[in-house]
């Protein structure tokens, strides 16, 4: 996987962030275009390409979610699979509730705060689930675990949208 290669890393889902940062800084320095100002145009071009590749690699790998998405894609798994129907049902209901609250009065605020807590909890669960699954997949490369990662990412996306909407709503109300 080229982002891992660029940073001299084994393709693993769980990574040490300090190590990642250090590799990124070291290599960025090494390939910095300023150091190639007197080089041939091919070398200049190579330094620019490496620099932008390192930036992309670092940005993608430092966040667990984007890292896992990248990893799945490179493993030939499409991200955009159908979401599980039970989840959609739930997300839809929550959105409906949110919409009702939005039209409502200040008394809805309490419910919004509860919803915020609930979604924050769900998001935290998804994140800790992800790190468990990362370790498990790195241990023994089991395709079923990759599927579970995909399902978790999927769920996480919907929950984080809901949370964003709830928080937007809470901010709007407190601003008034």
């Amino acid at each position: 996987m080229k982002f891992y290669d660029a940073l001299g890393l084994e393709p693993k889902l769980a990574i040490d962030l300090d190590d990642l940062k250090k590799r990124f800084y070291d290599r960025s320095r090494q390939w910095h275009p300023d150091r190639f100002s007197r080089s041939s145009s091919e070398e200049k071009q190579r330094s620019e390409e490496m620099t932008s590749m390192l930036n992309d690699a670092f940005r993608t790998l430092r966040e667990p979610v984007t890292r896992a998405e990248y990893f799945l894609r490179e493993s030939g798994l499409e991200l955009s699979k159908d979401a599980p129907p039970e989840l959609l049902e739930e997300v839809f209901e929550l959105n409906m509730a949110l919409e009702e609250l939005r039209g409502g009065d200040e008394s809805a605020r309490g419910q919004l705060v509860l919803a915020q807590e609930r979604f924050t909890g769900m998001l935290a669960d998804a994140d800790s689930g992800l790190s468990r699954l990362f370790a498990s997949y790195d241990g023994k490369a089991d395709a079923i675990v990759l599927e579970q990662i995909r399902a978790t990412l999927n769920r996480r996306k919907y929950v984080s949208n809901l949370l964003r909407d709830v928080e937007k709503e809470l901010n709007v109300h407190s601003a008034n």
């Binding site: 955009s80 159908d82 989840l87 959609l88 999927n154 996306k157 949208n161």
Partner: protein, 137 residues
Amino acid sequence: MAYSDKVLDHYNNPRNVGSFDKKDPNVGTGMVGAPECGDVMKLQVKVNPATGIIEDAKFKTFGCGSAIASSSLATEWLRGKTVDEALAIKNTDIVNELSLPPVKIHCSVLAEDAIKAAIDDYKKKSENVGVESKAHA
């Protein structure tokens, strides 16, 4: 990126927003989602069982403007069509009608999937009704 006039029109005046009782045997419900963006769409058809014609369609979408416009347009197109004609609606028809840009194609796919899911649901229900009435006879 600017939305086309048609998208804006459907977005500002969405047609047929709402829902039917999903337990009604003549109603088919399709609930779909797009994991890339986390948007959800529910689309329902109400079919006349004698003629197989879709008499009414409703939707509710929590998502981007293009998804809302796509589903709104879909409900307009569905009314008066037979179930089989409805299945012939393609996301590319929606893309063309609304002039959706490439990054918004998945929003129209969502609408096509919702139509298929709703019709599927209706068909399953009507088959079950058939089986039951036979069992009672």
